[in-house]
């Protein structure tokens, strides 16, 4: 890489986007991890978007022009991953299942980010009784097993069973309840730290209002860790959704395909040698979670200059001429962290 990249004007917008900038700074094993994660995650996203074109049948389809699907068929040309005890096509259900998972991730994580960040900012900045109350509530939620909480929420919202959107919203809300304290904690801690930064004090001295300080000075600086929590929480959201489905609190098979539900129905098959009903939805969960986690972990490592790997320096003799300011600034920034 050219040594002038930092010193000049700002880099093009696209290179500053979270994942892309991380990709550009990575090398070696860290890059391999990030790329694997990205391939898996992008594959997952593509599956979601292209589900109608990839899946040969609908998620609740039990028959086609040639008649009703046979039950518990091993993989064949017509049903490449076989069929379930109820006669569903496993391949189609796994593909459609990506949709439910993606929607739940987006709704749950977006909901918890908005609420968590807003509450964290207020609580951290103003402190006092508001802060104390919110922290106690967050701690109380932490104390619950998250799946139990999700089950309770699911029962409260939808009496356990429901349609596609009903099920999705119920799942999302139950997952958000578990996640809000996480965002809340991270943002609150950052806000408390940033509140003492000289630039925030300088804004105070100048007479800026609290809203302005929070919005302009704290918010942007406090949210830099969010892409990381986002990816890690996304994988946790899938697991919680699958867990709910597995326990029977998910979405009805007729209203959407859902991996956890399919897995629970495959329990009985496993002992009678029918492997295809369990392996495929299970593998889908594992690969999606693995992909998102790899992305998250790589971002975490790459954000930290101490963990970030670098190409070995050339060992060439100095080419003469002073170093660029940018490289020097990067070094200074680093030595501050070290």
């Amino acid at each position: 890489m050219d040594a002038n990249t930092v010193s000049g004007r700002k880099q093009p917008f696209i290179y500053r986007l979270p994942v892309i900038s991380h990709f550009r700074t990575s090398v070696g094993l860290q890059r391999a991890m990030l790329v694997t994660g990205l391939v898996l995650s992008i594959g997952f996203l593509l599956t979601t978007v292209l589900a109608p074109f990839i899946a040969p049948y609908g998620f609740a389809q039990l028959s086609d022009a040639s008649g009703t699907f046979p039950a518990q068929q091993p993989p064949s040309a017509a049903h490449i991953w076989g069929t379930t005890v109820g006669g569903y096509d496993v391949f189609s259900r796994v593909i459609w299942g990506a949709r439910a998972a993606a929607v739940v991730i987006v709704v749950a994580v977006v909901m918890s980010i908005f609420l968590g960040v807003a509450l964290g900012l207020l609580s951290g900045y103003f402190g006092g009784w508001l802060d104390r109350t919110l922290v106690v509530i967050a701690d109380a939620i932490y104390a619950f097993p998250s799946l139990l909480l999700a089950i309770v929420m699911s029962i409260v919202i939808n009496h356990g069973q429901s349609s596609f959107w009903g099920g999705i919203v119920a799942c999302s809300i139950s997952i958000s309840v578990v996640f809000i304290p996480q965002y809340f904690r991270v943002i609150r801690a950052e806000t408390i730290r940033l509140k003492a930064e000289p630039y925030v004090e300088s804004a105070k001295v100048v007479g800026a209002s609290s809203v302005r300080i929070m919005g302009r000075h704290i918010f942007k600086n406090a949210t830099r860790t969010l892409p990381l929590i986002f990816t890690l929480n996304a994988s946790e959201a899938i697991l919680t959704l699958a867990g709910l489905g597995f326990l029977g609190f998910g979405i009805e098979p007729s209203s959407a395909a859902e991996w956890g539900f399919d897995l629970s129905k495959a329990i009985a098959d496993a002992s009678s040698g029918i492997w295809w009903t369990g392996i495929f939805p299970g593998a889908a969960i594992v690969l999606t979670v693995l992909g998102l986690t790899l992305v998250g972990e790589s971002i975490n490592d790459l954000n930290d200059p101490r963990l970030r790997g670098r190409r070995k320096s050339g060992g060439k003799t100095p080419a003469g001429g002073p170093d660029s300011n940018g490289a020097q600034a990067a070094l200074e920034a680093e030595s501050r962290v070290l």
Binding site: P198, E201, R212, R310, S313, D323, E332
Partner: protein
């Protein structure tokens, strides 16, 4: 106790020999050549100072001597310690060399010591890591402790037999640095590398540590590599000086010669930039306090500021019954060491701290009944310059946005007006108006501090509070910023409260100087009188402790003030 550790006697060649050292760092922005070509020698019993500004490669050179560079660094050349090349030896061998042949004293004593172990344990750790050179056996815990006590005694910790069992927090800052030095001395290494050993300490404590280092050299013949940016410290301690600039050695000369006849242009500039107490005083020739006809902007009467203590402990009095006034157009200098309450006073005037007793009147507003809402209109009359220019700008906003912020909050101008005013202000602090589009990290420290001054002045305030505005800057940059401050103050005519720990800096700018000690104002008066003829014992000690950048004068002062320093 046996201490037959072999060390080369005087005249048996250099303790440290660096030849053509090059150090390269791999960073995100490509390779950075931190040290380009450095060669130097340190003889037994010699104090060699490596001086330079930030980014000169002096600390990297020091770390190479102990093989402490991070993984991202690649070094070439030779660093010979008693015939071993530190760069190429195995990790096991390097471990042997560290502590036995060369040891390091770090900048910040409070972080160099582990808070959960006793100091004796920490000193003994180094001793026990090495086999006894006489018998080749491991050293027993008891022997190691005995040696630790010996080392503590050497560095002048009173009652070392008891204090060996103390934890770091039970020592003061200066004593902690003594403990760090004791740990470095435990194995009688021939060479100590001291990286800014006094930078984190107050001047009066600095004087003690410098004396200790000088004693070690005189008594035990230890060679010292002293890394510092402070020319006064160099003048006080060094025999030979190596000046570094951007990874290269610019000049190398005996200390006396270097200060008397610097050869290189860079060295001359560096020496000229060092503030020298008693020269260039702002109150030169004044016999009475100026600006007394104007309005009084800040008036403190018996001002007390307390920080609430934890449950059961009494409140901490940071400021204790201080009275002073700042009039229109006057520059009031507030000097004191850490913990003296100087920053607290500055922050209280800006409404960042609450006052708890007495009276503090700022622009007609009584701060005792402080309410953010009622004080807000007055904020536009007060500018504030913070200590660390890197931290006082929001990294996400451009310099233009940051400088314009006070304007936008108080007068809601159109973007074009704001831009124009920002341009004017940047130009008056001698920055190109085009810098408004840059981000804070794209500016150097000095440029950022000028932008910070521009932000403080954009509303044409009546009062400016500058809290250590130059202490995070290099000497040469500091000189430029101070000059600029002086000029702008004359041009804009605002009153200023200038807070600093550096007497020379305060004297350069302030007409009237107040000296704070443990929350009390012990002395105030005209700058030249306080500096030239101090009345209070503490002021005398403070002035005596300040090393002057001139080896001969400093040696004379050392003798002259010995009585004051130990009294």
């Amino acid at each position: 106790m046996t201490t037959n550790i072999d060390r080369p006697g005087p005249g048996s060649g250099p303790v440290l020999d660096i030849e053509n050292l090059k150090v390269t760092f791999a960073t995100d922005a490509g390779d950075v050549y931190a040290v380009k070509d450095v060669s130097l020698e340190v003889n037994p019993g010699e104090v060699v100072a490596i001086v330079g500004e930030s980014g000169s490669g002096k600390t990297v050179t020091a770390k190479t001597i102990l093989g402490l560079l991070p993984e991202t660094a690649t070094s070439q050349g030779a660093v010979l310690i008693n015939g071993n090349n530190v760069i190429s030896v195995s990790a096991a061998k390097l471990r042997q060399i560290r502590g036995r042949d060369v040891a390091m004293v770090f900048q910040e004593p409070s972080t160099a010591l582990n808070p959960v172990y006793t100091v004796g344990w920490q000193i003994a750790e180094g001793i026990r890591a090495h086999a006894d050179t006489g018998s080749g056996k491991k050293i027993s815990a008891k022997d190691a402790k005995a040696r630790a006590i010996e080392a503590l005694r050497k560095v002048g910790i009173p009652d070392p037999d008891t204090r060996v069992n103390y934890y770091p927090h039970q020592f003061s800052g200066g004593q902690k640095q003594r403990v760090v030095i004791a740990a470095a001395l435990a194995l009688n290494p021939g060479l100590i590398v001291a990286d800014e050993p006094t930078t984190a300490l107050d001047v009066t404590v600095q004087a003690e540590i410098l004396e200790l280092l000088r004693d070690l050299r005189d008594k035990y013949g230890t060679s010292i590599v002293l890394i510092t940016h402070n020319m006064g410290v160099v003048a006080d301690l060094a025999d030979r000086v190596v000046v570094m600039y951007q990874g290269d050695v610019v000049e190398e000369a005996p200390a006396r010669v270097l200060f008397a006849q610097p050869r290189e242009e860079y060295t001359k500039k560096l020496l000229a930039a060092v503030p020298h107490l008693g020269r260039n005083s702002a109150s030169e020739g004044m016999t009475e306090r100026a600006h007394q006809g104007g309005k009084v902007l800040v008036e403190a009467k018996n001002l007390t500021i307390e920080y609430p203590g934890r449950l059961g402990t009494p409140a901490f009095k940071a400021v204790d019954g201080v009275s002073f006034t700042v009039s229109e157009g006057e520059v009031f200098g507030l000097v004191g060491e850490s913990g003296s309450g100087k920053t607290t006073i500055g922050r209280a005037i800006a409404g960042l701290n609450r006052t708890t007793g007495g009276s503090l009147n700022v622009l007609g507003y009584e701060m005792l009944n402080f309410k953010e809402r009622t004080f807000k209109p007055l904020r536009k009359e007060i500018g504030f310059v913070f200590q660390d220019p890197a931290a006082s700008f929001n990294p996400q906003l451009t310099i233009g946005d940051c400088v314009a912020e006070p304007l936008i909050i108080h007068s809601n101008p159109s973007p074009a007006e704001a831009r124009k005013r920002v341009g004017e202000l940047l130009e008056s602090v001698q920055l190109p108006a085009s810098y408004a589009d840059r981000f804070p990290h794209e500016l150097s420290g000095g440029q950022r501090q000028r932008a910070s001054l521009a932000r403080a002045l954009i509303l044409n305030p009546k009062l400016l509070i500058a809290d250590e505005p130059t202490s995070a800057l290099d000497v040469s940059v500091q000189a430029v910023v101070l000059e600029l401050f002086k000029e702008i103050q004359r041009e804009f005519g605002f009153a200023a409260l200038f807070i600093s720990h550096d007497l020379a800096v305060v004297d350069m700018l302030s007409h009237w100087v107040g000296v704070l000690y443990k929350g009390k104002m012990v002395e105030q008066g005209l700058g030249n009188q306080v500096m030239g003829n101090p009345q209070h014992d503490y002021t005398r000690k403070l002035i005596a402790s300040l090393p002057v950048p001139d080896p001969d004068e400093q040696a004379r002062r050392r003798e002259e003030f010995r009585a004051v320093l130990h009294g």
